[in-house]
Subunit: 395 residues, 2 copies
């Protein structure tokens, strides 16, 4: 049950201790001893370091378990935060993420990313600078920025790769451009990946293998394997959108192929289909509203989208055998979609693969992406001055 250490570190690293305390898995040194499996003396020294560094505090005493009362530990709320930005094709959402709790100081603006990278960079830099200033004013240190982008990302290079329907973005070095503008380290990743990280950290910290689907205007998925984000050989793992499905027949897709899942089951496709029937629908919000109002065409289309997504996920579930499939993104708010995915998975997958499989809608709502991006950014650079990472303990 003990959550694994974040990133590549050995158990017992400073970041790992912080993670356990922040997530509430451990509230005292004794708890940490139990969770980490390290000697009490080792934990004591590690905690002392973190207290000295100003990242942890003692705050009162807890309930006795038959002996001396434990001295409770808390992460210093005033401590470090990361800024987070979740980019959609038609909106930008920003917020601040601390070591503990939900994102805060959240803002959302409509913005058309397809207009090209430069205007987007300007808006992002401007909004994030303002956010950073508010954090400073509140006495918090801003340690970095995490950004989720709705398209393929070269995470190592910090740039966008050939996003469909977003001319001008190919090979755009968003990470370094933004870092230059803000004077802060920036971490850039795919939106489905940061969503997966957020859902895992916040809602399912104990699960080690899960698939988080982002069903919104487009369809993507983030894969967590062995408790870590899985990117695959070329960094493009998790695509389920450009898979041929029967229902899509010969429809041309933005990827250049035909019959892709995206052409029938994405929010964009559903909205287009609705418009084709004379029903006004543009965004995923419109679709959700129509479904909630019981509009029959909308409900049918969303349910069929769920079946199509389920058909693809059935292959993924048999192959990958995850502990959970989490449905996120705007469309996951539509009950018929979730129900359809569930039905298809239970019908088509091997019993061995579904016996202990959880299939659920995401619980973190629209902030999961922010949380994941922020958490990732918060852990990326050196944890704090004077605290070396214990992963590469060379002298």
């Amino acid at each position: 049950m003990a959550p694994m250490p974040p990133s590549d570190e050995l158990p017992g690293s400073a970041a790992h201790v912080l993670e356990l305390v922040a997530s509430g898995s451990a509230t005292s040194r004794a708890d940490l001893v139990r969770e980490l499996g390290l000697a009490a003396s080792t934990v004591s020294t590690r905690v002392q370091e973190l207290v000295d560094a100003g990242l942890l505090t003692e705050s009162g005493e807890g309930a006795s378990r038959g002996g001396r009362r434990p001295r409770l530990l808390r992460v210093v709320a005033q401590g470090a935060v990361a800024l987070a930005a979740d980019l959609g094709s038609h909106h930008i959402r920003t917020g601040a993420v601390g070591l503990t709790g939900a994102p805060f100081d959240i803002d959302e603006y409509t913005f058309d990313l397809t207009a090209g990278p430069e205007p987007a960079l300007d808006v992002l830099a401007e909004r994030l600078t303002a956010l950073a200033e508010r954090q400073h004013a509140a006495g918090r240190t801003v340690r970095g920025v995490g950004v989720g982008f709705p398209g393929p990302v070269d995470t190592d290079g910090g740039r966008i790769i050939a996003p469909s329907r977003m001319p001008g973005w190919h090979l755009y070095e968003l990470r370094d451009r933004l870092a230059d503008r803000l004077g802060l380290p920036v971490l850039l990743d795919n939106d489905a990946n940061v969503l997966a990280l957020g859902e895992q950290r916040a809602a399912h910290p104990t699960l080690r293998h899960l698939v988080v689907v982002k069903a919104g205007r487009g369809i993507g998925s983030g894969v967590i394997s062995g408790g870590r984000l899985y990117r695959g050989a070329g960094g493009s793992a998790g695509d389920i959108s450009h898979v041929r499905v029967d229902a899509a027949a010969e429809r041309p897709c933005s990827c250049g192929n035909i019959g892709c899942l995206e052409t029938v089951a994405s929010g964009a496709a559903i909205a287009a289909a609705l418009r084709g029937r004379g029903i006004a629908a543009d965004s995923t919000t419109d679709i959700l509203r129509l479904v909630e109002n019981g509009e029959p065409h909308a409900t049918t289309l969303v349910r069929q989208a769920g079946r199509d997504i389920g058909a693809v996920l059935a292959v993924v579930v048999n192959f990958f055998n995850p502990e959970a499939v989490i449905l996120g993104g705007a469309l996951s708010g539509a009950e018929p979609l979730v129900a359809a995915v569930r039905g298809v998975l239970y019908e088509r997958c091997l019993p061995m693969a579904t016996r202990e499989l959880t299939i659920d809608a995401a619980t973190c709502g629209p902030d999961a992406g922010l949380l994941g991006a922020g958490h990732a950014a918060l852990r990326e650079p050196a944890p704090a001055d004077g605290l070396r990472s214990r992963a590469a303990g060379r002298t």
Copy 2:
């Protein structure tokens, strides 16, 4: 390029050093220093330990690279071996596997596994005992046994789980039964998994993410992620056989569902289809022979099987983004199948996923399974007396 350590160990473990020397990645202490990234002094001590333990020897000197000649290292061939058994639904293949090189002392018998576990155990125990005795006579120490089974396996429990078409095997504790009979530690795994391990170790030691398909009488796949075998949450990862494909329409499958890939693309299904057209075909060998002789129905069926397998693999490749897809098993000897898989993958997958993707037939032939099973068994128990594993270095 440095191969990762086997199993869960830190770089620089005794087993890791042995692996590097055995695979030819390192031939001297200086090589090891470069591969492991450890200090020269550390490598020296580690090598000395292995020499003292009788697992490594110095054998002459290598070519100078502009300074003193390196002292070449070799694994002691007379050292330890593991026995390996690769079970098929209608055959058993056994052999011995050393730290280096190909399996040897190989035997294959036809045997009907569907007749139930007890007779199979008898035959296995008898043949492996004889094999072990031959190894002892040759002065080699037998350290363990690796077994690949053609069906779902609970690797932790060492038993078979609900194999289709193999009555009596459900929950059979093959590992412990065999271990009792032989007096040796036994490692039991799925046949596709040991095939994947064998192919990776022997042919693609540098690849970290690959999918190895076993296309024989049935269809299975072994997944290697991050250089390690991936089993998924319930241990059933890698199934691609029970996925619905168009071509299979309403055909009932042994898994209880309809339209599974297995009902059209497995060796068993192809043989049945041939018999339905009045062509005598029983085993995968028969199919291969027919294809090589240019029998049009056989070729068509095999090619179509390749397309169907490719359609499923396309989803897997987009999702998992491996570095390579390796086609193994008897049917991979049929060129049309390999060609069809290639064609479908390149046509259907995202360019990002196929740009650096290798799609090849397995190179290790029928011995890959033995090699994987043997290698796994060889590394499973304590490496050798007096050599503690450096992974769990508690005092």
